[in-house]
Amino acid sequence: MNDNGRQITLFTNLQMWYHKHIIHYMIFFILTGLPLVSPWFHWIAYAVGVPVAAFSGAADITSVGLQICRAAHRITAVLWIVTSIPIVFAMLPKIGRWDMTPRRREGQGWVEYIKEGLIDTKRVYIDWQYPKYMGKYNLLQIAAAWAVIGICLLMLASGAVLWFRLWFSEGLVSVMRVAHLAGFMAMVVFLIFHVYFAIHPVNRAGYEAMFRTGKDSEAHARKKHPGLFL
């Protein structure tokens, strides 16, 4: 890229560090959660249970594997919370400047903002052209980001109730069990789209920024994210 070498920072080191950890946690969450969602995935519990049963002499390998998966699921949740502490402290003070905050131009109504955002998103992902107004994220990314934050909070709250279920009423535990499953399904659908669009050539620069330097050339950013410079 010939752009006189001027670079802008898309992601800070802390954001990149957190994102990489999130990937590991999601893999662990999914692998350890799936055997509890459906017996179709009991092979995961069985694979986990085999070495443990070999030493412990447990009667039912799948059952032992399920218990280990449940424990690993909870440990992963604790690690996720611990890892989230620095990012929360770093991000919360800047909440007014988050790139995923919907920003309307002066005098622009919500309907016009949404219409413009959708047309801009179509321009990128259907017409394969550069957008006219898009900032760091397009409208659907902004919506998805807030949805994911909501889902994560739901998963944390429902997971905590399920973990310490003896402290709560049976009714609440039942509701939280359903909510945890619904949140998981929504998260899987989000991840499918997220991973696909992350590795799509349209987002090559963003992908490389997230996993390598955190930076993008200003020349490219002016074309792909004109909203950042408006």
């Binding site: 969602v37 049976e170 535990v173 069990r177 619904a182 399904m185 499918i192 050539p201 090559r204 620069a205």
Partner: protein, 270 residues
């Protein structure tokens, strides 16, 4: 061929409320610990082991004095034809036996308590000491050995009786008809026929006056909202995942068709 399907019936009209059934159930479960788990006799008798009381009493009172009605109902697993606890158990620890009994395999149970959520009769009980869930096993071991269930064996008024499902059903219906003639009100044999499509028929039936269905905890349309919701979410989630995959396939095809015209195609332009 000998009929394998067994059943138990509780006749609330013949019951004298001595609760020998409750006592014998507990005794039998303590004996099971001794003979199956090698637990010492003293230990099995000294500890309360409330989770092993598969039969419990739920007392309810209704009306205004002097027209008060007090009912002490037996609470136990109904051994549904379509056990929702079995469907929801992530450890596949719950099974429906040929006898009709629904059993929890203690070695497989991981103590997640999903079965408690799924049971429309609110029966399974979680024991904090063992970290596992328990419920009536319809004395499946005794039935297979040709013995009556512990509750039926203890009952002095034959208010609880067991046998092959067809015999029990016939006897129960005959009793209900007789009661209707004698008392002039409608009696039901709850569970002899499918209660609804959710649970099906029951292997533990109950004879009761229709007007007493509520205090005897015999809902007309037992349903587990959690069980239904989880199934809907699983099916909806699988459909959404399929739709997402299909949408991505269409998008990939669109990209392949137009990528030469795309401003994002060449890395240099990125």
């Amino acid at each position: 061929m000998k009929e394998k399907q067994m059943a138990v019936c509780y006749d609330s009209q013949a019951c004298i409320k001595c609760f020998a059934c409750v006592v014998n159930c507990s005794v039998e479960n303590r004996a099971r610990l001794q003979r199956e788990r090698g637990t010492g006799v003293e230990k099995t008798m000294m500890e309360k082991l409330p989770h092993l009381n598969y039969l419990t009493i739920e007392k309810s009172e209704s009306g205004v004095f002097p027209d008060v009605k007090s009912v002490a109902a037996l609470k136990h697993c109904q051994h549904c034809e379509y056990p929702k606890c079995m469907d929801i158990c992530p450890a596949e620890a719950i099974s429906k036996e040929d006898t009709g009994a629904v059993l929890i395999n203690r070695d497989k149970c991981v103590g997640c308590q999903s079965c408690i959520d799924a049971c429309p009769y609110d029966v399974p009980v979680f024991d904090r000491e063992t970290g596992k869930t328990y419920k009536c096993i319809m004395c499946n071991d005794r039935l297979e050995a040709g013995l009556p269930t512990a509750c039926a064996e203890a009952c002095p008024s034959v208010a609880i009786f067991c046998g092959t499902a067809s015999d029990v059903r016939a006897e129960a219906k005959e009793r209900a008809e007789r009661y209707e003639k004698v008392f002039g009100k409608k009696f039901i044999v709850y569970g002899a026929e499918p209660v609804n499509s959710h649970v099906g028929s029951l292997s533990y039936m109950t004879i009761a006056a229709e007007e007493n269905a509520d205090p005897y905890m015999l809902p007309e349309n037992p349903k587990s909202g959690v069980s239904i919701a989880r199934n809907v979410i699983k099916i909806g989630g699988a459909a959404a995942i399929g739709a997402a995959a299909a949408g991505i396939a269409v998008h990939v095809s669109h990209w392949k068709k137009h990528k030469e015209d795309s401003v994002y195609h060449h890395k240099d332009e990125e």
